[in-house]
Symmetry: D4
Subunit: 195 residues, 8 copies
Amino acid sequence: LRAEADADADPETTPDVGVIMGSDSDLDVMRGAHEALDELGFAEQTDFHDAPDARFTYETYVVSAHRTPDLMYAYGETAAERGLDVIIAGAGGKSADLPNMTASIAYPLPVVGVPVQEKSVDSVIGMPTGAPIVAVDAGKSFNAALSAVQMLAREHEVLEDRLVAYHESLTGGVARDSRDLHDMGVAGYVASREE
Amino acid sequence: LRAEADADADPETTPDVGVIMGSDSDLDVMRGAHEALDELGFAEQTDFHDAPDARFTYETYVVSAHRTPDLMYAYGETAAERGLDVIIAGAGGKSADLPNMTASIAYPLPVVGVPVQEKSVDSVIGMPTGAPIVAVDAGKSFNAALSAVQMLAREHEVLEDRLVAYHESLTGGVARDSRDLHDMGVAGYVASREE
Amino acid sequence: LRAEADADADPETTPDVGVIMGSDSDLDVMRGAHEALDELGFAEQTDFHDAPDARFTYETYVVSAHRTPDLMYAYGETAAERGLDVIIAGAGGKSADLPNMTASIAYPLPVVGVPVQEKSVDSVIGMPTGAPIVAVDAGKSFNAALSAVQMLAREHEVLEDRLVAYHESLTGGVARDSRDLHDMGVAGYVASREE
Amino acid sequence: LRAEADADADPETTPDVGVIMGSDSDLDVMRGAHEALDELGFAEQTDFHDAPDARFTYETYVVSAHRTPDLMYAYGETAAERGLDVIIAGAGGKSADLPNMTASIAYPLPVVGVPVQEKSVDSVIGMPTGAPIVAVDAGKSFNAALSAVQMLAREHEVLEDRLVAYHESLTGGVARDSRDLHDMGVAGYVASREE
Amino acid sequence: LRAEADADADPETTPDVGVIMGSDSDLDVMRGAHEALDELGFAEQTDFHDAPDARFTYETYVVSAHRTPDLMYAYGETAAERGLDVIIAGAGGKSADLPNMTASIAYPLPVVGVPVQEKSVDSVIGMPTGAPIVAVDAGKSFNAALSAVQMLAREHEVLEDRLVAYHESLTGGVARDSRDLHDMGVAGYVASREE
Amino acid sequence: LRAEADADADPETTPDVGVIMGSDSDLDVMRGAHEALDELGFAEQTDFHDAPDARFTYETYVVSAHRTPDLMYAYGETAAERGLDVIIAGAGGKSADLPNMTASIAYPLPVVGVPVQEKSVDSVIGMPTGAPIVAVDAGKSFNAALSAVQMLAREHEVLEDRLVAYHESLTGGVARDSRDLHDMGVAGYVASREE
Amino acid sequence: LRAEADADADPETTPDVGVIMGSDSDLDVMRGAHEALDELGFAEQTDFHDAPDARFTYETYVVSAHRTPDLMYAYGETAAERGLDVIIAGAGGKSADLPNMTASIAYPLPVVGVPVQEKSVDSVIGMPTGAPIVAVDAGKSFNAALSAVQMLAREHEVLEDRLVAYHESLTGGVARDSRDLHDMGVAGYVASREE
Amino acid sequence: LRAEADADADPETTPDVGVIMGSDSDLDVMRGAHEALDELGFAEQTDFHDAPDARFTYETYVVSAHRTPDLMYAYGETAAERGLDVIIAGAGGKSADLPNMTASIAYPLPVVGVPVQEKSVDSVIGMPTGAPIVAVDAGKSFNAALSAVQMLAREHEVLEDRLVAYHESLTGGVARDSRDLHDMGVAGYVASREE
């Protein structure tokens, strides 16, 4: 990572969003972030030196605060130099320190913390004054990615358009459910859904 | 607000950060946001049509989700057109709906939710998939403002510099406390602090 | 909805009870309301312009506070004009804002909030002074419908009679269980229930 | 109470709303109900046989589920015959049984439960299926009275008008705070409030 | 029940322990009480007028505080006259009022409350000063029966002997497990248990 | 204590109720037990070999499970031989082990556990199957004493009479408050109480 | 145990770590301690008088605070004399008294408490000032054993080496997962893991 | 710190116990550790290069995980080389990461975590498998120091003697309170304490 940081890569070729998690057992929950990023046209970059064609990209690492503190340090310290714009960090357990420590080390890069379990919420959100982190609800890695893209959309209008397009499809789905439920009646709707 | 939205104002003259809260009794807690913004060189804009000289500005409103839902709607719908880049929304109580509803209505503008009381945390953070909000811990409006500026700093390097400068003064203070406590010993340190 | 509100329909032909929920995934829990209403002789109205024969009717919609705030607004604002007398609103998650927001927008129409999950209770019940809602326990949509009918029964004595009749059948069932358990003994009762 | 129930009084002369509480130490919290009823033009009736002139009235009793179960029974059983239309019942502690038991005994009269303390919420709201109660948040007796009047307003349009008038004054106050805070700026507003 | 209370039965022929529960769905949990009573030589009495031969007996009823408040009242009021010495009352839900109300009505007969679910503990234990109940932990109906027999053993030495005998068998079982686990080693012990 | 246990004292001269607590800082809370026992005509016995004249007596000790485990053991083991009939044991903190350990050691003597703080409830109530304790709510030492006397009243009818007499005075007080509040009206009642 | 304590055995032949648990049903959770000790080269000693060859050993007993208080006492009192250096004590339920009582009785031997269930944490950790225990998180018996060995490693450098070696293998595993996840991409990694 | 680590100091002259805390506002709580260490004859070392005469010493630093992550890293990495044997680390807030991160970085040195507030307990105790920490209850820094000395006492018998002497004085105090309370009676005892 330190080598990559020194590489002074063209910002157009570096990953925009870093997705990290405390253990590969968190991947089930954290995949929501990848789904949202894919939905919004981001590509996964698996080789720092060989960027995908897509304008916006993300990368993924397992980084454990308690089992690999050195790796966490290195990731946080090099994040800005490696060209990242925002980090999504997820961790589980009651001492979900990865998002907080990464936010402290990578500061002033914004970090969106994802509590992988309900019991991780307090640990992720509870930073002292002067040490900022923003958090989403337990398991909501999908929303964390939407929020990360909302931040990037401050500079990139195309991302704002994609966010709006995504939202319209979502709203349309709810409206369709609503109309069907009303017009078919409860019994009819349930029957249609079970078909 | 709708008139201001139609005014098509020069983005350089509109407030960058909107600070809203559910009741003026939340002001004690929410002033932390103003303090952080002042610390980072933002000016308060009290007249939409007459911007202060400072490059970065904020505005403040009381908006109650449950007592003035129409006002909340109007604020959220016009936020982007009125030139805001990020909203900091604080609310107290167990149904702290203002940050969530504002995030839904002002989408895709990023909203940083501030639970004004500990019991407001769940209500602020608990959004469903597809409806993003980011939150800070209860009462941490100061950090909410730091986070908001971290987002703006994606486009404005000068803000990044100010964030770093602020952090260095903070770190320096902790280091000084640490050295004093160690070198004076506990009794000596306590005595020196009571002087 | 706004068209229906303007239709100035005969109150005898409009739905008396509106049942709304934040997502069609809440339907499993909210069907308890429909069951209670059916039990008390209400009919489902699936076409606003073509009322069923029954004197008392209900309608159902999916309305998401965070994904379709405009629809929520329209539903709440037109509820009284569309002839509704009481709304039963259910929502899940930790930010279960639909019941609260609907109560604020449809005011002074009474709204019975149904927390779809245990974790939704705080968010549903926690309104500030001046913004009324009444709530039932998590998942108790059946009771929400009983409560809604208790309100309607203030004007409609026939509903009071139906409530009493329903309750007598319920009480009779408990009394029968009690006598059987006592007279058969525990072992005998368990055996009889397993047959 | 049983004598009053037998009196077969003219409904125009009986109290419309009964406010009961488990102990006179709950009165500090429950007075919010009286304030709301006074605000909406209700008069307190202190003599069942001598009604005040006002069209809408309320009465108040201390009734302890655990210390005076007989009194609770008598109150609940005679409530309908004594002409009450809705009961507001408040209780504190972790076994806040008064609202629930009254709702069961006075059924099908609607009962609005008021948890006098935060720790009373679960006990007040947690009724089993088939035994309805509606509840407000801890300490929100003011809202309980608004809800009770919303129920009465189904038959009495004048109460609907009073509810709307009350709400407009409330909304106006928030809007005024909002404008002042924005236009004066935070420092100016705080200074003006401290004057 | 009232007829039985008037029967003025010989105390030697009336049940000593009454086991009541709020719903027959609580029977799975409450059967622990029957098991303990059976273990200690109590017989179930299923006909008030025809006592079993055993010196100590118990009876069982379903009594719902919220669905059959009249039955609860009758049971509590007649308990002493019907010859009961202690009541074991179990209820589930967050408003587990049966044990509390029975303790208030049957006072000064001792009542051992059994919270059928974890969420029932607060409601069962939380009585105000002056209204006594004693409680066991959630689901511990077996212990409730041991406690009830401890109370009866104040007068009946034979019950004290049975309690001691039961306990010795229990202690012996733990001691045997302990010796086996130590002497076989963990692997050996696990293997022996899986045989 | 062991000497007293060997003394083979006349049961009429030994204390009936033992009140123990984990620290003398618990005395403020535990004094409720003494007040209830005094109210019911019990005398305090401060010298084991010199009983007061009253028929029913109690004694008090500080016994710490974690700081004086030997003393706790001695107290529990000798309790029956020293003539006690029931023990009231109070402890604070999250590991409130005194009531539980005493119940285990003094078994089959009944022990009423008093959690001295809210956070002590779980630890006091949570015994495993086969190890009985009964508990009252946090701080309710007064009720613990009432419960202890309810147990003794199984053999001593005079105690039952005293319990009933105490309760009648309690009920009368609530009824008087209720009548005053109703007849004076809220404002009049509050004024009368402030005189 | 008391005989073993008197045996005055050579410290080289006595168990270093005692693992005790409140019930053999806790063994599933407590086996983590045995796994960690095995991993670090400890042998299980199943006969006090016949030590295994390994330099470091452990023993295991079932000891119930509430069902076998005498056994618990004997174990704690003899622990130091029997040559133990540290005790790992696990218990479940809400009154998980075994670790605390053992820490009090075996003092000044260090005791590492293991809450076997989440609800046991408060009871295990909550000791009063002057009565030390250290605790690990619910179910983390593996970590309890690592901590116990960290304590022994103060005197035995070879244990420090083994702890470091164990940790390097752990760290290596996380690093490998991280590299694979990054280089294969999310989809590739998931596919490789499902093979 | 790194210079001190390289100094290769004589272990007899280096501090044995390191006390660190996240902020100097934690000092009120953490002073309990210093009091216990002073009580047990430890001296404070305020200059690494100039050890006090006492055989056992401690040092104190403020180290913030979120505000000075670099300092935390340096402290943890150099702890063993600087001659420390055990670290006591206290932190407040909901993300009390200092104890956990220090335990991870300073591994295999044992770390005793002190949650400075009740809400810090979960974050301090909740480490994943393979990353050991031991914790005391919220605010119990005094006990943390006792536990730290228990660990050192494995090698240093003199510390074991001091621990026993401290405990005897503690036990004596409780016994004296117990005897006074019993012999004076409640009223007499309270009076004597108020003098």
